[in-house]
């Protein structure tokens, strides 16, 4: 097996993801797999129908029972495709017939109903193991394998039978007979009183569903098998390591190769051939072979091939228990009311159930806020993840770091205004307001907000300073983008009111200090 030629991406997958990969493998090879499934089953199915035309159900049952046999050619196609080989249909059929007789009896008797059938098939078919070897290999592979494989078997069987019924009903819809009443149909199905048409339709539906699903089931098992081996034997690592080694070998190869070839050439010319050396080599080879064989046996008898694991886990056997309890009490209620059967009892039941309904509504009304909170918390945690909670350090190009602002902002801005640096003066006021809003009033501005969006946030937070802030924003926008200078009067009122709005604590403490004095 040459891993470098493998056509699937090797990485450890979880059980279900491995099955999904199998579905993709089946999609890729669907045509040839479907075709060979039909080639191997249709003659048998047709023959059986011909032999016992009154029992189509038995015919389809035999085909269904022999599933493990006709699934083998499908596995053959997949196993070839994994290594980029595409056998022709003729090859598949020839090879497939040979495969049919391999371990025939156990496959269609006691192994038929194994829930891991398609997972086990490669061990028998591709690794050619049988008897106790096969059993040991399987226990080793199963020991850490997830429950997904038997889950797949159950689910695929369910899908298959649903499809079989669906196809039958679908065909029935188009039949121009007027006796397709459910009662008659079910009666016929149960009592087997004539009308083999339904059975025939069901057999055809089942057959179609079977050949449709078989490629996916086989591929799911095979892919799980590959995944399990890849995990246990670290195929993905082997592939990368081999590539790394090859890369470095080829790099150093160039000059070494030349040197070696020169040496070899010179030796050929200098030394006469000796045959004893060859004989020695053969001995060496035999010895090495026996040693390797011993090593293989040693490893096979080691713990890796006989691993047993016992795991205990707690499982809830019946997750619906509490509900069914409730139902029972409910039913008990019902039976009580009906058994007493007197008018009073009935009235009582009615009153009770009205009370129950009212209580339920009250309970739901009471719980609505909690429910909203439950659903919103999901959305909120999503939002929180999206917006990192970092406070922005600058908005629309204005530096908002606290340490970059002067201590007395009002004084500073007035001085700037008097120096007729009007833009800087108003800018400082606005900058300081934003900075205060972020750090003291906990407004959640985000990077990339515009001035008006900041204003909306402030208004949403219902801060008392929002009228002032809106005025300031307006003045700043006119100056910054419209180049319209506010009148000195406006600026001075803005500046004077700034500390009232933004530093209430300090103004209060100032007042207090005044009172103390």
């Amino acid at each position: 097996m040459d891993l470098s030629k493998i056509s699937i991406k090797l990485r450890p997958r979880n059980g279900y993801a491995a099955i999904d990969l199998g579905t993709r493998m089946a999609q890729k090879n669907w045509k040839s797999m479907f075709l060979s499934a039909v080639i191997f089953t249709l003659p048998l199915f047709a023959l059986l129908i011909f032999l016992m035309p009154n029992h189509p159900i038995w015919a389809i049952f035999v085909v269904w029972w022999l599933k493990p046999l006709w699934e083998r050619p499908l596995l053959l196609i997949l196993s070839q495709d994994v290594f980029h080989q595409r056998p022709t249909l003729k090859e598949i059929i020839l090879h497939g017939f040979k495969l049919l007789f391999k371990q025939l009896i156990p496959s269609i008797t006691w192994r038929r109903f194994s829930p891991t059938r398609s997972f086990d098939a490669p061990v028998m078919q591709l690794e050619n193991l049988s008897g106790s070897e096969r059993r040991e290999r399987l226990t080793a592979l199963h020991s850490r394998s997830p429950s997904s494989i038997s889950g797949m078997t159950i689910m695929m069987h369910l899908i298959e039978s649903l499809m079989a019924f669906a196809i039958m009903l679908f065909i029935l819809q188009f039949l121009p007979t007027d006796d397709i009443e459910w009662k008659i149909f079910l009666e016929n199905l149960v009592t087997n009183s004539g009308l083999h048409l339904y059975y025939l339709l069901f057999a055809i539906g089942w057959y179609l569903a079977m050949v449709l699903m078989a490629p996916f089931y086989v591929a799911g098992g095979f892919s799980s098998y590959l995944n399990q081996r890849s995990i246990r034997e670290a195929w993905d690592l082997e592939l990368v390591f081999r590539q790394l080694a090859a890369k470095h070998k080829s790099r150093s190869f160039d000059y070494k190769n030349i040197i070696v070839s020169i040496l070899v050439c010179s030796f050929i010319f200098i030394t006469p051939k000796t045959y004893s050396a060859d004989e020695q080599e053969i001995d060496l080879y035999a010895e090495q072979k026996s040693r390797v064989k011993a090593q293989i046996e040693n490893i096979q008898s080691g713990p890796d091939y006989k691993r047993t694991e016992t795991t205990t886990e707690l499982r809830r056997i019946n997750p619906l228990e509490p509900n069914s309890d409730e139902d029972e009490s409910e039913e008990a209620d019902e039976s009580k009311s009906s058994s007493s059967s007197s008018l009073i009892g009935k009235e009582f039941g009615r009153v009770l159930s009205w009370l129950f309904l009212i209580a339920l509504i009250v309970f739901i009304l009471f719980k609505i806020p909690a429910m909203i909170e439950y659903f919103q918390s999901g959305a909120r945690s999503k939002n929180e993840k999206l917006s990192n909670k970092k406070k922005p350090e600058q908005l629309f190009g204005l530096d908002l770091k606290l340490e970059n602002l002067p201590d007395d902002i009002v004084q500073e801005s007035k001085i700037l205004w008097q120096q007729s640096q009007h833009r800087e003066a108003l800018g400082l006021l606005y900058r300081a307001s934003l900075s205060k809003l972020i750090h003291q009033f906990d407004c959640e501005f985000e990077d990339g907000f515009t001035e008006l969006e900041c204003l909306i946030i402030v208004q949403q937070n219902q801060l008392s300073l929002s009228p002032y802030f809106s005025e300031l924003t307006q003045a700043w926008r006119l100056l910054a983008y419209g180049h319209k200078l506010p009148s000195e009067q406006t600026f001075l009122t803005l500046a004077d009111h700034w500390s009232n709005n933004f530093v209430p604590e300090t103004s209060e403490s100032n007042k207090q200090r005044g009172v103390d004095e």
Binding site: A17, R232, F375
Partner: protein, 228 residues
């Protein structure tokens, strides 16, 4: 290379692999949801049965609401996960990987009826089996996929050794593999680990420290790669 992912290319030219979920886990998730729905409907029917024809009407209305809104509400407000999907570790997202919107969820759940055709979800099963991203008809219409919720990126413990830098520059894939070998040191047999480390080129291991086994040195590299 065949893989079970669906590749999404972002405007920045980055390829994101979405691990799409196929028919088996999705059917199981639906089965769980269906059982939950049946339980709710059964309890409702029991209660409403007492109220005569008023209860009957109310039951039909509630049945309608629950039947259509159960998946939508959970998908939109609970991160694309109905209880069944959550149990199976699945969630619905748009096919570009963004969280599902109300519109898309509504479309895909209303079209569950189309997937039911002709009977018993046959159209849905066939569509899921033959679509590359395992979409049912509703998913095709709404532009959504069901993906596995990515597991938390928790670090597996590796043997603690004095970190050492590899002697060769390694690609990302190769670095990952060396780290992964150290992370799987308890799952793989000792012999297999030795065998794997013997595959690597000699240049990777500085000659002067031959007394340390190759595997030990690889573990030391892994410590270095992880930044211990």
């Amino acid at each position: 290379m065949l893989d079970n992912t669906s590749k999404v290319e972002t405007p920045e030219g980055i390829e994101l692999p979405l691990e799409v979920a196929g028919v088996v886990p999705r059917s199981m998730a639906y089965f769980i949801d269906f059982l939950i729905f049946l339980t709710i409907a059964y309890i409702l029917a029991l209660v409403m049965g007492f109220l005569g024809s008023f209860g009957e009407g109310l039951f039909l209305i509630l049945y309608f609401i629950i039947f259509w809104l159960y998946p939508v509400i959970f998908e939109v407000f609970r991160n694309g996960q109905t209880p069944g999907k959550k149990a199976m570790g699945l969630k619905v997202v748009h096919q570009d990987g963004t969280p599902i919107s109300l519109n898309a969820s509504f479309v895909r759940n209303i079209l569950l009826v189309a997937d039911f055709l002709p009977f018993f979800y046959t159209a849905g099963f066939i569509s899921m089996l033959f679509n590359k991203d395992f979409k049912r008809l509703g998913d095709l219409a709404a532009g959504t996929v069901v993906v596995y919720t990515e597991k938390e990126n928790k670090e597996d413990p590796i043997p603690q050794l004095k970190p050492k830098a590899p002697a060769l520059p390694l690609s990302l894939d190769e670095q990952r593999s060396i780290l992964s070998l150290a992370e799987r040191h308890q799952q793989l047999s000792e012999a297999r680990q030795q065998e794997l480390s013997a595959l690597l080129p000699e240049q990777l291991f500085p000659a002067k420290e031959e007394n340390q086994s190759r595997l030990k040195q690889l573990h030391a590299f892994a410590n270095w790669l992880r930044g211990h």
